[in-house]
Symmetry: C2
Subunit: 231 residues, 2 copies
Amino acid sequence: MAQLDESLLTDLPPFSALDRAQIRAILDQATPKRYDHESAIFHEGQDADRFFLLLDGYLRVIRTTPEGEQIIALHISPGQLFGIAPALQRDTYPATAMAATESLALSWPVRLWEEFTQNYPSFATETYKTLGARLGEMQTRITELATQAVERRVAAALLRLVSQSGRKVDGGVEIAFPITRQNISEMTGTTLHTVSRLLSAWEKSGIVKSARKRIVVTDPHRLLLLSGAQS
Amino acid sequence: MAQLDESLLTDLPPFSALDRAQIRAILDQATPKRYDHESAIFHEGQDADRFFLLLDGYLRVIRTTPEGEQIIALHISPGQLFGIAPALQRDTYPATAMAATESLALSWPVRLWEEFTQNYPSFATETYKTLGARLGEMQTRITELATQAVERRVAAALLRLVSQSGRKVDGGVEIAFPITRQNISEMTGTTLHTVSRLLSAWEKSGIVKSARKRIVVTDPHRLLLLSGAQS
DNA sequence: GCACAAGTTTGAGGCAGAACAACGTTGCCT
DNA sequence: AGGCAACGTTGTTCTGCCTCAAACTTGTGC
């Protein structure tokens, strides 16, 4: 693994207002760790003793129902804080974080949380902004689940994935990490069968192109219409 | 309206660590206001220039879809802070707050938010705890909507209402504010017809008793079973 | 006290999407 | 290179719940 470098953090919102010495101090207290594809960073209910920053890779944040079904609450992209239970005065993690690709994250013990927020006001501010955005996204998903038909929900989920982790490829925008039909069904509250049928239909009409664990959106505009956006 | 009194706040978590003089100072800067039944405190998208504390009554926090359907995101009970967009660095309210009964709330201009959180650490702490609880509840609702059948969701919604605002009456626990079948359908993503049928069935088997805009849960235990809780 | 509106109940029918089932495909591991 | 498991597709059946429809009930304002 490469040596930790100040340049990793300088451009990220929580740290962008800090000087080199401050970033150095933060970095010196961080523990970097690599996570294998499909391995867990922490589990739901586990003691929340650290908070994290994703440097590279993608994560899925998952909740499991009593019946054993999983639903994906959230995806984490590089540069985002996660596992920030301490910010909400929680002492256990409310969900499980899994690496959707091989990933690299920094973490700090929770006792540093208070120190960071007190010494670096922009750190607290940015964190709560992130939290506000997540809360808003969750409200939107509740509304969607409660009112929209499956096709719209799946279309909206794809658009969200693309906006959060889209990378340009020839002929469209690709979701930057491996994702299965099952995964998408766990984001939208449907079955992998229904997702498969939808993707097949969309591929026929030239809206997406998909392969195993890979999805490229070729016509975001038509997908937006399917998602029910007002024209 | 009664004169504002320190005793209104002393027992509430955000203020319980403060002394009389501090509470007096906070109270002196507050604007109290009464809201009629079914009137709005603020609207979705509106400039978030104040934050609020509900002293008496009950509120519904509502989101409206582009198609005009409403869904109820949250209920607010006496003693809770609401409209705390500033805590999340938002400049507009993400939802509409409506009085479910005649209600009384205090409010402060957002510029005092920073002052409060800086001067009274326990205020910030308690607020973020509340936020954490709401986030957790929203996750649970997403999971429910994505995986559970309608009957379970409605049962769970009733139990949540009872735990948040239940008042003992003879023969059971009553939801403390007027609530229609339509309202419950807007909490659970179903139709008023389905809710009506469920309540009728439950009334026949002695689990609830209901009248117009009034619901009494007579057998919480059986409702808990219906909600899918593991025994 | 009557009329009207708002809330509720109940019935009947249809359909989106879940459940069940079977087969095809691709990548990975030895 | 071959075998196997994970992933994906597609067809068929079935049902939970929405939709449409109509009547009933209860509070409320004139």
